[in-house]
């Protein structure tokens, strides 16, 4: 800051803040790659669809965990709520149109998030972690017991999802339609989350993550903000679950379980949480690794993932993107953490 600077808002800090939401040159890349994948690997579109859905799920989790700092191990509750909403409505012939079905899945996820968030977000830390886990356990057991509606342990299969726009069939053997459909929904949701995290509301969520005590002291309605964030995150997870049910034409307890909740958490930690693109990098890295390791070592592939995670937890808290940032950052913005 020198005396000759015409305006304070021209300073480095002000320019950084004023321009941080602008599109960077590399941001279209993931989307171009996703489209290229569609043409390059037509035989892997089922796998690709699965990855895209996990990306959306991880982005939903990132909003709550990475930005607002809500520690949760039960996010599959909302994924499952969305998936079962689509599944039960379709199986009983009540609602089979995919796009509106997704909206209903989002609403279902959001409602579960709102109801549980109003209670859970009075707590923090380990208590919160355990309560999110309990909520998910309750839902899972409910889905298991209410077999008449949910199919119980077997789930609901052969869901009669209508063709997209009445034209494009969801063929379970060739996932072309599913892939592009999921990619489009993911893109819309991503743009929404990106807008949100760069907004003043997103800034206040980051403030809550960094210092909740101080956010109270600057007059922020902290709990209301957290509940809103949690609800939005849950709705997005519900949409991801709805996509999963539609793309696979079935739904089962795996959508609701700890396995899925833990996987999405691992994906986010691997990619780097609170970084928006961590969800994308993490999901791709995790699922590609899983794919190849399980082919190479069908019995012990999880060992490889475990070692990788230990490495990340010990040496690279910021995940893959954190490593990248450490390699490329400017020294004056260094952030020892």
């Amino acid at each position: 800051m020198s005396v000759t600077t015409p305006s304070l808002s021209d300073s480095l800090a002000a320019r950084t803040l004023a321009g941080r939401h602008r599109l960077r040159w590399w941001e279209p890349l993931p989307w171009l790659l996703a489209l290229a994948f569609y043409f390059a690997f037509p035989r892997y579109l089922g796998f690709g669809t699965e990855v895209l859905i996990m990306i959306l799920f991880a982005i939903a989790l990132d909003l709550a965990l990475g930005y607002a700092g809500i520690v949760t191990l039960g996010h599959a509750a909302f994924f499952g709520a969305g998936a079962y909403t689509v599944g039960m409505l379709a199986k009983n012939g009540i609602w089979t149109e995919p796009i509106t079905g997704l909206i209903l899945a989002g609403i279902a996820g959001g409602l579960v998030g709102l109801a549980s968030g109003l209670v859970l977000l009075r707590t923090a830390g380990l208590t919160l972690l355990m309560l999110t886990l309990c909520t998910m356990g309750l839902l899972e057991e409910t889905a298991n017991m209410a077999a008449e509606y949910t199919g119980g342990f077997d789930g609901l299969d052969s869901l009669p999802i209508k063709p997209l726009f009445g034209v494009f069939e969801f063929n379970p053997l060739y996932s072309n339609t599913q892939y592009l459909y999921v990619l489009a929904v993911l893109f819309i949701c991503f743009v929404f989350v990106r807008t949100l995290v760069y907004s003043p509301f997103g800034q206040s969520l980051t403030g809550i993550r960094e210092n909740m005590l101080r956010m109270h002291a600057v007059g922020a309605p902290v709990r209301r903000r957290l509940v809103i964030c949690y609800t939005i995150s849950a709705a997005l997870a519900g949409i991801a679950g709805g996509l999963w049910a539609e793309a696979n034409a079935y739904v089962n307890l795996s959508t609701l379980g700890l396995d899925r909740a833990a996987t999405v958490l691992i994906i986010l930690v691997l990619g780097g949480y609170g970084r928006l693109y961590g969800a994308i990098v993490g999901a791709v890295a995790y699922m590609v690794l899983e794919h190849y390791l399980s082919k190479l070592y069908p019995t012990a592939w999880q060992l490889g993932l475990g070692l990788l995670l230990m490495g990340i937890a010990l040496f690279a808290r910021g995940g893959i993107l954190g490593i990248w940032e450490a390699l490329t950052r400017r020294p004056d913005r260094s952030k020892p953490s």
Partner: protein
């Protein structure tokens, strides 16, 4: 004349410990008031009662003559009561500018906006930078808190609170740990505040207290021990015995 912020027979106990005993206190508009007392006198507890972090066991807190016992912490901030913390409470992973932006965005009601980027609120950024300039922090505005020297962090602590443009400003040891070369920046910033706002400062630094305060309240074991002008307090033999004498030997 109604005081800006007052307490009537305010008490707070933690189990058997009486942290605040029957304190009746008034902070007038335009006051430059200091609260002093030995360690464990209950000064920070008193601030926590004023700001709504703690609920009183008995007695009332009033703002402009209205009881605010039931008013939550965040709403008291909206009324115009703001504080700084004895131990820095900053957004450590964010830049200095973002720290102040977060506070000002809250005051002007921008923080509920989800749809447009934070960077497009030029007014908030301009105001943040102007505030940082006043506190000689503009040159480090882009830096992350964690990388700043402690004295600079202490100024950010003050900047976040000043961004709220409070009517009542409660400063909990604002200059603690700040090198003497920089502590004048804090005092200058307080001097430059609008005359109408009431400032209550808690500090151990007697030079600072006597330079700053027009009125001093001495708190001992949770109760008001003495109150008066700096001259009166300085001349009070009992106060010297319990407190001032100690301070010259202590830290």
């Amino acid at each position: 004349m109604t005081a800006l912020l007052e307490t009537r027979s305010l008490s707070k106990n933690f189990g058997a410990l009486l942290a605040t005993r029957d304190v009746t206190f008034a902070l007038e508009a335009g006051a430059r008031h200091a609260l002093i007392g030995p360690n464990g006198a209950g000064k920070t507890t008193f601030i926590n009662l004023l700001t709504g972090v703690l609920a009183p066991s008995s007695g009332d807190v009033l703002f402009k003559g209205r009881t605010i016992n039931e008013v939550e912490q965040a709403e008291r901030v909206k009324l115009g009561i703001a504080r700084t913390f004895q131990i820095n409470q900053l957004f450590r992973g964010l830049s200095v500018l973002e720290n102040v932006y977060t506070s000002i965005a809250e005051r002007v009601g921008a923080a509920t906006n989800m749809a447009t980027p934070a960077g497009t609120r030029r007014d908030v950024i301009e105001e943040s930078m102007a505030l940082l300039e006043r506190l000689k922090l503009a040159d480090v505005a882009h830096r992350t808190i964690a990388g700043l020297p402690y004295g600079r962090q202490r100024l950010v602590e003050l900047a976040i609170t000043l961004g709220l443009k409070p009517e009542v400003l409660l400063l909990d040891e604002p200059a603690a740990g700040v090198p003497s070369a920089e502590s004048h920046i804090i005092l200058d910033a307080i001097d430059a505040l609008p005359k109408s706002i009431g400032v209550l400062i808690i500090d151990h630094d007697m030079d600072l207290v006597f330079r700053f305060a027009k009125k001093i309240t001495v708190l001992v074991r949770g109760a008001v021990f003495a109150e008066g002008t700096p001259r009166e307090i300085g001349a009070n033999a009992e106060v010297r015995a319990v407190y001032l004498g100690q301070a010259t030997h202590g830290s």
